[in-house]
Symmetry: C2
Subunit: 209 residues, 2 copies
């Protein structure tokens, strides 16, 4: 059930299948502990997790995301627009729990080992934590939907992050009826997955022909 | 052996334990397939993986990283400098394989679903792939050492990435004698891990007292 490769293959970005039931507390604890166990540059552990369940906050965010959905829809031409119409981009209210993930670059002391040449390594650490959280959720029978139709300033204000903490993700997390075999964007005709060979190179990068 | 939580807990950032033996091809294939199975914004799959084994390229990168290690060391005061002296920051030559991971924002068509409001979501996808790769490597008995003491322009030139592809990581990957129980930065006195409670918030962010 919790075999790593099985979990990696079953993991889906979930929007339609949330049941709205609460997460068993022990499951949620394991999921958050897995996130906190991620690698981080200079052991800075620069993430924050805000658990949002307030119906008012969920509704505020849902409404903001609906507006951003329209912004994106307006940029598409006819056929792509029609395909996009069929795609659900969030399960904010249905899941009943949003986990807002933030990046705090002040974590880890004045000299973060491994960050002097590449400032974004701190941000990378936060995403490693998100992927751990996502896999653990999959193992627990929970769906995760990463919502990115939002403006960072809006989300910062919504959960009260100070100016130096950057919102990285809103994750809808909750029990699901099932995880689809085929990713939503593929089954609704938006994009298809490419073969591994297309992104593999030996010794040096070779452009695809 | 491959239980998800066990793998998440055993995963380490490895620098000292590489044996230099080659990776069984089937293991490497599973590791790369796990990376390619990561979530990506708008199903853009915007990653590239360059497998570097050439001794000349490994040595060029090792030498560059040694220079950047000195840049960082020069920024530290006496006590921190002495602690840092004991810490190994790479296993580039010893591992025998570098996997260079790139981010190609041109992947995924003209309109990447989920990226219009937050450009960095493409970069986040690449890091999800890295974390999948890291966990799969752990399950295969391989160590991974993420090296970030380098300048992106140097690495771009070294592996021939075009100007629009951003280097995100150099990963030293190879068989190891063991994975340490305690992370290197903790056992060599650089930093200690914090408890989960310090980064958890309910409904709204609350600063730590």
């Amino acid at each position: 059930m919790n075999d790593l490769y099985d979990v990696i293959n079953r993991r889906r970005d979930t929007r339609r299948e949330f049941t709205g039931q609460p997460i068993p507390p022990a499951s949620l604890q394991r999921v958050l502990a897995a996130a906190h166990c991620a690698p981080s540059v200079g052991m800075s552990q620069p993430w924050d997790f805000v658990l949002v369940r307030s119906p008012q906050t969920l509704e505020s965010f849902r409404s903001h995301v609906a507006g951003e959905r329209e912004v994106f829809a307006a940029s598409l031409d006819g056929e792509r627009g029609e395909t996009f119409d069929t795609i659900k981009v969030e399960g904010i209210v249905e899941s009943g729990l949003g986990i807002v993930v933030g990046y705090d670059p002040s974590r880890g002391g004045p000299d973060v080992l491994g960050r002097h040449a590449i400032a974004d390594t701190g941000l990378y650490s936060v995403v490693c934590a998100i992927q751990n959280l996502w896999l653990a959720s999959t193992a627990e029978g929970l769906g995760v939907g990463w919502v990115s139709f939002y403006r960072e300033e809006f989300l910062r204000d919504l959960v009260g992050f100070p100016a130096h903490v950057r919102p990285v993700a809103w994750l809808c997390v909750g029990p699901v009826s099932a995880l689809p075999d085929v990713p939503d964007l593929e089954r609704f005709g938006w994009r298809h997955r490419s073969p591994l060979a297309e992104v593999l190179h030996e010794e040096r990068y070779a452009p695809r022909v």
